[in-house]
């Protein structure tokens, strides 16, 4: 075959790759189920942390609150609440909700998991 025909085949293959990518990314992307909480959208994360804060105000158990926040993965509970507090402040959460989050943040900043001897 001549080089022009090879080029034609190559271009056709590239078109096929482009179609495959379009199909796999846009038309029929991988469908995820059973996702972990760390990819929840920011407002859902904030609402979850707010629920933890509401429950904490009633239960006054830092351990339970920390365990509930642990579903977000590698961040510490205090970091999670700090991020949520920033989000709440920037998004017009009510004063009461911010106070709840601040209470939870204080608890998480001073919380020491049982059996942890590190300062």
């Amino acid at each position: 075959m001549t080089s022009s025909k090879w080029i034609t085949i190559l271009v056709t293959a590239l078109v096929g790759i482009a179609l495959g990518l379009a199909y796999g990314w846009v038309i029929a992307p991988v469908q995820y189920t059973d996702v972990p909480p760390n990819i929840l959208r920011e407002d859902y994360r904030a609402d979850y942390v707010l629920m933890v804060a509401e429950a904490y105000q009633n239960e006054q158990s830092p351990e339970i609150a920390a365990r509930r926040l642990a579903i977000f993965g590698s961040e510490t509970p205090a970091q999670i609440v700090t991020l949520t507090l920033d989000y709440a402040t920037n998004n017009n959460f009510t004063q009461n909700e911010i106070l709840l989050l601040q209470g939870l943040l204080t608890a998480m900043q001073t919380y020491q998991p049982q059996g942890n001897d590190t300062p």
């Binding site: 990314w25 407002d43 239960e59 998004n91």
Partner: protein, 307 residues
Amino acid sequence: MRRFPINWILFLTLALAAGFGLGLAYSWLISPVTYVNANPALLRADFKDQYRIVIAASYKASHDLARARARLELLSDTDPIGELSAQAQRMTGAGELFEDTQPLAQLASDLQQGVANTAIINTNTPTASVSFVSTPFAAIGITPVRETPLAEETITTEFSEPTVIPTLSFEQTPLAPQQLFFTATPRPTSTSIPAITMPFTLIGQDPVCDIGLSPGLMQFILMDSRRNQAAGIEIIATWSGGEDHFFTGFKPELGDGYADFIMQADTVYSIRVVEGGSFVPNISAPTCTDENGANYLGGLLLTFQQP
């Protein structure tokens, strides 16, 4: 000369198919769409369970039934109340503490009745209604699927259809900033409903001879003064060899005020309803006779009601 074009078309088709396959493999296996901004409906089952626990714990603190309902809708469960009850039963079966399962059962019961149980109300935590309006994603290249987040959820006292479409928004770019607007919708006021403190009185003690039921099944129905079934009421059965605690409301398909317990033959039980201190001594399983004249261990139905 005639075969050459056919081969040529074949070459091109193969090249196209191979390219398509490579593209598909890359987009599905090597670099699939990265999901961000997932909604709670897509969470793994155990995380959904945790989500429900936190919703129930939050509800226990705020007694904001509408908000708890809106939050549950985010999980897109077909039957949110049934899921709550089933989870409470699973947790009870797994030996978890009543303190952990009771909020779930209570929330399920309150959702079913449409009224917040204010028996353990906490009036110091007024919360504002939240309406989220999120800006559309600035997706590049991929148009996000329609998504209505907590978004513009008008919290009503009716159980409305979920407004959240359980679809994913996905994009391969960082989160676009979202704007949230909060409207200070007045909270439902704390309607004063008397706490369940009146003693339950035994108003019925009926033998149940049903060969289809478990032998020695003691069934309880607890109702408040308005004849509404009462969930979350602790009952203690004691006998010479031991004691067992159980609660109403863990089998909502049989009624919020339903509980049951298996009696042994030739054992005398005393029943105490913890709420209000009602006490019923000398309870034992009756002997029933089937149509062939054979005896079998029957059951009992005890009905309690608050005056």
